[in-house]
């Protein structure tokens, strides 16, 4: 199976007055699974459509495997795209749907005509196409559905047909535009596993657009997190989770959302939260401290708070607490352990200091170091 790198440089795109993509450069390596993640309207789908050739960039170039395809038609790029709505041809059977990409490339116009085609098409080419369709159907376990029409299939089955149609042509790369978002939660998790397995088997390059950070975190080699037409951070899923480059990345990645506390770094460098000194030091100035739910601890002394809500998630429990100063903090605990609150639901909160994140007033990450512990 062919696989190629994708290289975007200096891509800009606007619709009317709004700049949707602001100077995007991105290299997707050969055989890499890269997710484009972001809120709706961040430009991730537009970027994918520019790679596919369905939109032309106002500025910048697209290279596939070293070849400049910026001005090529979508069909000349040898990319396969899986759409959110699957986009199966409604009047064709599954077999015909899967065969279509090959028929369009291997058969001339005359051979594609409904009746004439049977006479003029070369038998060998038709046999090759049939074999490829059978193999793709077998890979996705839809052989028994080949003679049905898309309308007779369930969402998950349509998804498989769309995947089969994509992989039958052995593309340079797969482009996926939120392919799982129309499936119910259980099927989505299942298809996620199947996609990962499929990708491992094919070793192809994947560009995967999603707004669901769980999908991106679980499937990708690298994630490009997009915000307002820019790539905010590009890196491995762990990198985005454990060292977010900006406040926006920290807020987007992770569930429940990261806890944010207003902080002040004193001239001496010590980080203060609500007037309390912490064991952290950084560059002086106003800042925001980010703490993941699993890094919040119930401590003997610390920030006084009370429990607002308790959510059970099987082995884990999320406690939503309100600090006396007003902020809401979510913490994650083992469900088997006691909450640590008194009978009135009051408790004191601290956090694992070396896993906290500090962001300056400009939203950028500030490096921190641990200081001598002064009673937290």
């Amino acid at each position: 199976m062919s696989r190629q790198s994708l290289n975007l440089s200096g891509i800009r795109k606007g619709f009317g007055q709004t700049q949707v993509l602001k100077d995007i450069s991105l290299l997707v390596r050969e055989g890499e699974f890269l997710s484009l993640v972001g809120m709706s309207g961040c430009g991730k789908s537009t970027l994918l459509r520019i790679i596919a050739g369905l939109e032309a960039p106002d500025h910048g170039t697209v290279h596939i495997g070293g070849r400049d395809v910026t001005d090529s038609d979508p069909s000349d790029r040898n990319l396969a795209m899986v759409f959110q709505s699957y986009a199966l041809y409604p009047h064709m059977t599954v077999r015909h749907n899967i065969a279509t990409p090959l028929r369009m490339r291997k058969l001339g116009l005359a051979a594609r005509l409904p009746l004439l085609g049977r006479i003029t098409a070369s038998r060998r080419t038709l046999a090759e196409i049939d074999a490829a369709v059978a193999q793709a159907a077998d890979t996705l376990q839809i052989t028994h559905l080949l003679d049905r029409k898309p309308a007779q299939l369930s969402g998950g089955q349509r998804q498989r047909v769309a995947l089969a149609r994509a992989l039958v042509r052995q593309p340079a790369a797969f482009l996926m535009d939120e392919p799982l978002s129309n499936l119910d939660a259980k099927l989505r998790a299942h298809m996620r596993d199947e996609l990962v397995a499929l990708r491992r088997r094919l070793g192809s390059t994947f560009v995967y657009v999603t707004h669901d950070q769980v999908e991106a975190m679980t499937m990708s080699d690298r994630i490009a997190l997009m915000i307002e037409g820019r790539i905010e951070q590009l890196g491995a899923p762990d990198e985005l989770y454990h060292s977010p480059a900006t406040l926006a990345v920290a807020k987007f990645i992770g569930s429940p959302t990261i806890n944010l506390l207003p902080a002040e770094v004193a001239p001496c460098g010590v980080v203060h939260v609500h007037g309390r000194a912490t064991g952290l030091a950084s560059v002086p100035g106003p800042a925001t401290l980010g703490i993941r739910a699993e890094d919040v601890r119930v401590t003997a002394s610390g920030m006084p708070a009370r429990i607002l809500r308790e959510e059970k998630h099987g082995p884990d429990r999320f406690l939503t607490c309100e600090l006396d100063e007003g902020e809401t903090i979510v913490l994650r605990q083992k469900a088997s352990e006691p909450t640590g609150a008194d009978e009135n639901g009051k408790l004191c909160l601290g956090f694992v200091e070396d896993r906290a994140h500090l962001f300056g007033a400009d939203g950028l990450r500030r490096e921190m170091r641990l200081t001598e512990k002064v009673a937290a």
């Binding site: 596919a52 979508p74 069909s75 409604p90 279509t100």
Partner: protein, 270 residues
């Protein structure tokens, strides 16, 4: 009682619409003596249906009129669809400068009545020496803005993602337009065909202007020749002729009815 009122109102409407047809059928089997009888009793005192229909079919070349009607209607429909479908596809699904303006022009053109164009068209055809031809009967209707509008409304709802998938698979725009989008709008095509064929089968105005040769006359003009021939007016035979030329339309509508209704409800055009 409440439940029956809508049905009653609808029945009244249906009665008003169907009455002329019934009257036509009834008159076509009555004898001249009974023509002006106010009674609507379906069995005539003297059954002269056979004579009436024979007279209508033999006095004038009715089959010829029908054939002319078929030729004209098919020709018009064919060119209308061939031109309107790509135009509607472009307006509905392609992005190009001036698209909105063109769409406004299409809608504006819907408001121009045939009568306003009759004189220049007639003069043009006369200068070109094309009067008394099939072409003269068809040409003014080749480009149908109504068809463009109707197809545009229905093409617009075709999923963009399927079109994009087709582009990535290597379909040409024409293949997308005819093979995918029109195929998905089949009810609109059926609805438009019925509209077009009925309108031009029944058209008297334009053929009367450009044709005076009996051999080229479509059915309504033929009927006019027939009533001229039969001065003194045998209404029974006249109605028999009318029944004969109406029948194909009724059959055509009944066959396409399901698609027709789906087509007009889908596009919201009445």
């Amino acid at each position: 009682m409440r439940r029956f009122i809508p049905h009653l109102v609808l029945a009244l409407g249906a009665f008003v619409m169907l009455m002329p047809f019934y009257w036509m059928a009834l008159t076509s089997i009555r004898s001249p003596a009974e023509i002006f009888d106010i009674s609507l009793w379906p069995v005539p005192k003297e059954f002269t249906g056979v004579q009436n229909y024979t007279q209508a079919a033999t006095t004038v070349p009715m089959a010829r009129f029908m054939l002319n009607g078929v030729i004209v209607c098919t020709g018009i429909l064919l060119v209308q669809v061939l031109t309107a479908v790509p135009a509607a596809y472009a307006l509905a699904k392609l992005r190009f400068p001036g698209r909105r303006l063109l769409m406004i022009l299409v809608i504006a053109a819907l408001c121009v009545p045939m009568q306003a164009l009759a004189l220049p068209l007639f003069v043009g055809l006369a200068k070109a020496g094309l009067l008394n031809t099939y072409f003269a009967q068809m040409a003014p209707f080749f480009l149908s803005v109504f068809a463009i509008f109707l197809f545009h409304q229905s093409f617009r709802s075709y999923p963009d993602e399927i079109i994009e998938a087709a582009r990535m698979d290597g379909f040409s725009e024409m293949e997308i337009c005819w093979g995918l989008v029109l195929r998905g709008s089949f009810p609109s095509l059926a609805a438009f065909s019925v509209f077009s064929v009925v309108a031009h089968w029944n058209d008297l105005y334009w053929p009367m202007i450009v044709v005076n040769d009996t051999a080229l006359a479509p059915p309504p003009l033929g009927m006019l020749f027939f009533s001229d021939v039969e001065t003194g007016a045998n209404y029974g035979a006249l109605m028999a002729g009318a029944a004969m030329i109406t029948a194909p339309m009724v059959v055509c509508f009944l066959l396409a009815r399901r698609h027709f209704v789906a087509g007009i409800t889908m596009t919201g055009v009445k």
